[in-house]
């Protein structure tokens, strides 16, 4: 049992326990912010699987989020289906989209991955904007009801909150297990040195396809929950900035560190909402996402838990022009 209770797991349990009691002390507005936190957690964890474990930075992850959101919204709008049915279609369609994006990866490496993920997101957004009969184009789909499961409709946002919390916990446990599994180890080998991994007999292409598909499905689930939370979807929401904000969350939490992602999501979702209070900062609150990226890249790429102390020390050492621990070695 001891093996499973490392620092990160304990922090995870503490955060989840905190989240579980939070609805008893928050007002409806704060509860809404917390639900956004949960959605960002799921979304960012899916990207962290790709960035931290797979070593592939997706600059268009919002594409899967929007596909998930639009799948459940369109199915509700055109057929009136409830979430339990839509959920299966969300998994199928986002999985298919992830598969589609992963296919060119057999030919393309390095910087072209950046380019192709960016353009994939752009194309998905264009399709949503222009496919009027299905997605209603620029208007967006309005009036999406709260989640219904097998005929049981969630009445309050608190039920929605706990439902999403279950997804956060399941995603976390699944990803933890995935990292330790054969696939996860293969991916980490590929991330560190793809040529060496190939020489050891790891097939790069199937592993990449699988990780893209899994990541897409998780992001799609977050998107489908988003559609039911906001009760409307419109194309303008799912622009490139959504992908970049997600990268910010992952980078703050540390690549490959899922507990860090949870903290990053909490921090970066609550901070802009908190800054709303100050009148002069109100317009500039989203700058936080950009600042965080630059500062973290400055410090040490990421702040994964224990490395924090080291990077802060390095930062001050650099200010004082002293030699840092890194340089002496």
């Amino acid at each position: 049992m001891k093996k499973y209770l490392d620092t990160r797991t304990i922090i995870f349990i503490v955060i989840m326990a905190g989240m579980a009691v939070a609805p008893f002390v928050t007002d409806p507005y704060q509860l809404r912010v917390l639900i956004s936190c949960e959605l960002n957690m799921i979304f960012a964890m899916s990207l962290n699987l790709l960035m931290g474990i797979g070593g592939t930075v997706s600059f268009g992850h919002a594409a899967f989020y929007s596909i998930g959101a639009y799948t459940t919204a369109c199915l509700w709008y055109h057929f009136g289906w409830d979430y339990s049915t839509n959920f299966i279609f969300v998994i199928l369609i986002t999985g298919l989209a992830g598969l589609l994006l992963a296919l060119p990866m057999s030919r393309i490496t390095g910087r072209y991955v950046t380019i192709i993920t960016l353009s994939f997101a752009e194309i998905v957004n264009l399709i949503i904007r222009n496919w009027d009969p299905v997605t209603l184009g620029q208007m967006g789909i309005v009036g999406i009801p709260n989640i219904t499961l097998f005929g049981f409709r969630f009445k309050t946002k608190i039920q929605f909150f706990y439902f999403t919390l279950i997804f956060v916990i399941l995603t976390y446990i699944f990803l933890k297990w995935l990292v330790e599994s054969k696939l996860g180890r293969n991916l980490q080998a590929m991330r560190d040195d793809s040529i060496a991994a190939e020489a050891m007999g790891i097939k790069l292409f199937p592993n990449k396809v699988i990780v893209f598909t899994i990541s897409a499905i998780i992001a799609g689930i977050a998107g489908s929950l988003y559609a039911h939370l906001m009760t409307y979807v419109e194309p303008a929401t799912f622009n490139a900035n959504l992908s970049f904000n997600c990268i910010s969350i992952v980078v703050v939490g540390g690549l490959g560190n899922f507990t860090g992602t949870l903290i990053g999501a909490l921090f970066l979702t609550i901070l802009p909402e908190y800054l709303r209070r100050f009148e002069f900062l109100f317009k500039y609150r989203m700058i936080a996402y950009g600042m965080v990226l630059v500062i973290v890249m400055w410090l040490n790429h990421s702040i994964p838990g224990l490395k924090l102390k080291q990077s802060v020390r390095n930062f001050f050492a650099r200010l004082l022009h002293k030699k840092t621990a890194d340089q002496e070695v």
Binding site: V57, F59, P104, R107, I108, R111, Y112, T114, I115, I116, L118, S119, E122, I123, L126, R129, N130, I195, N239, A240, N241, F244, N245, I247, S248, V251, K283, Y284, M286, I287, Y289, G290, M291, V292, L293, V294, M297, W298, H301
Partner: protein
């Protein structure tokens, strides 16, 4: 009809090409996709608007020169703040790319905060003057844009071939380390490359808003993505590739929107991009790079 489309495509392609050179120039030196370029495009248009309406007393030439200087400074500062610390630590370019995305977000949010989200009227040159060019109705600003771009392209080709600084930039793109050992001021030169890229983005930003006669907060991302697609199409890291890619993309878009539909023209640029990536990922002029073990 065809001539009209070609003229429109050329003027739009000029705007793409200028921004695309900014991407390509920095990529050729640092192998870095500088995402902040699109934000500089927007920022300089906003600066132009702000200066024109408040400070410079409606003189377009003076405003333009001040905007260029401001854009050059912004580019240099971006390099110092966001790229240099990561570069000097010798870290992967992915981190510099993420940092440049951070800069893009910061610049865009500052613009949005100060400018607001409504569409405003933008000053333009020779408003309402049209020239009949073999049956193609060409506005004066379109001709000005095309001519300016040709001058700038000529200047850039002189700059990189015959100018001391430009030759330094070409040397950097071959081997930074060797340049450093030869005693070249590498950091200053890289800063200058960012400044030049930003100034080109500023020219195209102002030109685009003059062409539209209006400015809104969304111009940056729209053109930024297209220019990026143009860069990849021509072969990223090749200056002539960026220009050719920009013109091909713009003419293809105008052909599609002229003969088919407006909404399809948005698809065509990214459709071409995906096709290029699948068939020849290095682009039209790109060189094949070898994998090193």
């Amino acid at each position: 009809m065809l001539l009209q489309i070609l003229v429109n495509g050329l003027s739009q392609g000029s705007i793409y090409a200028l921004t695309a050179i900014g991407y390509s120039l920095i990529y050729s030196i640092l192998q870095l996709i500088n995402m902040s370029n699109a934000a500089v495009f927007l920022t300089s248009a906003v600066i132009f608007y702000a200066l024109y309406t408040s400070l410079t007393g409606s003189s377009i030439a003076l405003t333009f020169i001040l905007t260029l200087m401001a854009a050059g400074m912004i580019g240099y500062i971006i390099e110092i703040i966001a790229i240099r610390p990561i570069r000097e630590k010798g870290d992967s370019n992915t981190y510099a790319l993420i940092s440049s995305i951070g800069v893009k977000t910061i610049l865009e949010q500052i613009c949005q905060g100060t400018f607001g989200s409504e569409i405003k009227q933008f000053p333009t040159l020779l408003d309402g003057k049209y020239i009949d060019l073999f049956g193609a109705r060409t506005s004066a600003i379109q001709i000005i844009i095309i001519l300016t771009t040709l001058c700038i392209l000529g200047f850039m080709s002189w700059f990189t071939q015959h100018n001391r600084v430009g030759r330094g930039l070409r040397a950097l793109s071959q081997n930074i380390r060797a340049c450093h050992l030869m005693g070249m001021p590498v950091n200053t030169l890289i800063g200058i490359s960012f400044a030049v890229g930003s100034m080109l983005a500023a020219v195209s930003g102002v030109a685009y808003c003059m062409y539209l006669k209006s400015i809104s907060i969304s111009v940056g991302s729209a053109i930024g993505n297209k220019a990026f697609a143009a860069t990849v199409l021509g072969g990223i890291g090749e200056l002539k590739g960026a220009v050719v890619g920009g013109y091909i993309l713009a003419i293809a878009e105008n052909l599609v929107s002229g003969y088919w539909s407006m909404s399809a023209s948005n698809f065509i640029s990214f459709g071409i991009l995906i096709l290029v990536l699948i068939i020849k990922p290095t682009g039209i002029f790109g060189k094949k790079e070898q994998k090193k073990v």
